[in-house]
């Protein structure tokens, strides 16, 4: 029994979800995330990690089970409504708007914000990603993979989200860039944004996270503090490539 008196920010309760036509991608999974945390969700290709994020952001509707955010049920809501509640989902493969400029992409990130001026917001993003500032007039489709990843993250932050979900932010990036992205993830969290991080790079993810969950073919195999998972024999063997 966990006896945490503080209500979690996000609760996924016993969710079953189908991906595509009939792939049962989640078979009764529960996770939770508290304010301030970085929670890592690791697992192999096809384990259901992306399905989990899509179910939270509303792109997929769970067959059964529910998703609660700030104590309120959000499963079944349209994705744009969930986004407006403060959940920003940076999808796998970045999905920047290729024919919009960097600046316009950022502007779309703040689509729902009512403030007259977003200047402070742009400044905050360009502090975090100086490169985006230099490329602001460029079409997003002409950026490199790493630059697009930064843009996708910056765009999500423009909404000032209360929860940031990142799907494979390090995918396809050079090792140096991977380090840089994880530094930025840590920094975003230190500035106060909780992060739900899906990664195949389990070592990096668990190093930056406070807690972690391990998904295996749609079931939760393990969960615990990130440091415990990093030292868990099964995790080391299956996900960190360490024999023994």
């Amino acid at each position: 029994m966990t006896t945490n008196p503080v209500k979690p920010l996000l609760e996924v309760k016993n969710v079953h979800a189908v991906y595509g036509r009939k792939i049962r991608a989640l078979k009764g999974v529960s996770v939770e995330l508290h304010a301030g945390e970085i929670v890592a969700l690791i697992g192999n290709n096809g384990a259901g990690k992306t399905t989990m994020l899509k179910t939270i952001s509303g792109i997929l509707t769970p067959e059964s089970g529910e998703v609660l955010y700030q104590g309120r049920r959000i499963s079944g809501m349209e994705p744009h409504r969930i986004a407006r509640l403060g959940i920003a989902h940076v999808p796998e493969g970045r999905h920047v708007f290729p024919r919009l400029t960097v600046m316009e992409n950022l502007e779309m990130g703040a689509y729902c914000r009512k403030e007259a001026s977003l200047l402070d917001e742009y400044r905050r993003i360009f502090d975090l990603f100086p490169l985006l500032g230099r490329r602001r007039a460029q079409l997003a489709g002409t950026l490199s993979g790493g630059e697009q990843q930064m843009l996708a993250m910056g765009r999500a932050l423009m909404a000032s989200p209360k929860l940031l979900m990142l799907d494979e932010p390090s995918m396809g990036l050079s090792p140096a860039l991977v380090d840089k992205i994880f530094d930025i993830i840590r920094k975003i969290n230190q500035l106060g944004t909780p992060i739900f991080l899906v990664e195949q790079n389990a070592r990096k993810a668990l190093q930056v996270a406070s807690r972690g969950y391990v998904l295996e073919t749609g079931n939760l195999a393990l969960s615990g503090s990130a440091s415990n998972l990093l030292h868990n024999k099964a995790v080391r063997h299956a996900y960190l490539g360490i024999a023994g």
């Binding site: 407006r84 989902h89 708007f97 919009l100 502007e107 779309m108 990130g109």
Partner: protein, 299 residues
């Protein structure tokens, strides 16, 4: 002679361009060819006529009348297009690409027959809104009507350009055209943006319908078909989904048609054939059109 043909071609091309924009806007966002668009422009023309019949002449003549006729024709055609999307396309989305296409052809037949049965199956005179004059210029006979048509169309295109490029909703339209799912994740109500796209495309079609009525002086329940198909060709020629392409394709087709009519023996009889020869040639040689991007899988 050449100048005359040029002015005639540009006038016709301006109308085609406006219609082509309706096809291309909708295709750009939904990858759907709205075959009911030709009927939307026809309904716009009939609303333009209705305004002239039901409002007192003092309101429907001169520049004020022009504004009133266009505002109402555009509003009605835009609203009709939104209703068509809501009833006939949206429920079929995510089923197959073919289903909404067939539905569009169905809507087209319904609208044509509705006007045929409820309004008239005969040609109706479309009165002159403004007193028209002719100018002699370098041997060409240019009517003020042509100038009005050309500038109305160019004005609407400029307004569209501003809307798409500079406004928040216009940018959201481009974002949806790029990546609908990502747009939804930004909190953009993509269903609403699709509706706005149909509204704008339909309104441009309605304006084109009214211009068409002014240009030819009469309208009929089936008037949308030929310009609709030609404008569709223009959109494909320019690169369907590409806004500048639709305008370019419309003007090329208008000029080409006038050139065929003016310079080929028996050309006037062949001018309607040329659009479809162009369509087939483009599809064979460069299916992505002049300004269109290579059609590839979205990753």
């Amino acid at each position: 002679m050449l100048l005359q043909q040029l002015v005639n071609g540009l006038t016709l091309g301006a109308i085609y361009s406006l219609i082509a924009l309706g096809y291309t806007l909708v295709y750009g966002i939904l990858m759907l060819i709205n075959f009911a668009h030709s009927e939307v422009l026809m309904v716009g023309a009939f609303v333009g006529l209705g305004v002239q019949l039901f409002f007192p002449p003092s309101l429907t003549s001169g520049p004020l009348g022009l504004a009133l006729v266009f505002t109402l024709a555009m509003a009605a055609a835009g609203a009709l297009n939104v209703v068509v999307e809501r009833l006939a396309y949206r429920p079929l989305r995510n089923i197959s690409r073919l289903a909404p296409l067939i539905s569009a052809i169905g809507v087209s037949i319904i609208l044509q027959n509705a006007v045929f049965l409820w309004v008239s199956n005969q040609s109706q005179t479309f009165p002159d809104i403004m007193k028209m004059r002719s100018f002699q210029f370098a041997g060409a006979d240019i009517s003020s009507l042509q100038i009005v048509i050309l500038f109305t169309a160019l004005g609407l295109m400029a307004a569209l350009h501003f809307f798409i490029q500079k406004t928040r909703v216009g940018k959201a339209m481009r974002a949806c055209a790029d990546d609908m799912e990502a747009a939804e994740l930004m909190g953009i109500d993509t269903k609403r943006i699709v509706a706005v796209t149909f509204l704008v495309g339909g309104a441009l079609g309605g304006a084109a319908g009214a211009l068409n009525g002014m240009y030819y002086g009469s309208i009929k329940y089936n008037l949308g078909f030929l310009p609709g198909m030609k404008a569709f060709t223009a959109a494909v020629l320019g690169g369907i989904g590409n806004i500048q392409g639709a305008v370019l394709g419309g003007f090329i087709l208008g000029l080409l048609e006038v050139a065929v009519a003016g310079y080929l023996p028996n050309g006037a009889e062949w001018k309607d054939v040329i659009a479809f020869v162009v369509l087939i040639c483009v599809l064979l040689a460069r299916p992505s059109g002049i300004l269109g991007e290579k059609i590839g899988e979205k990753v």
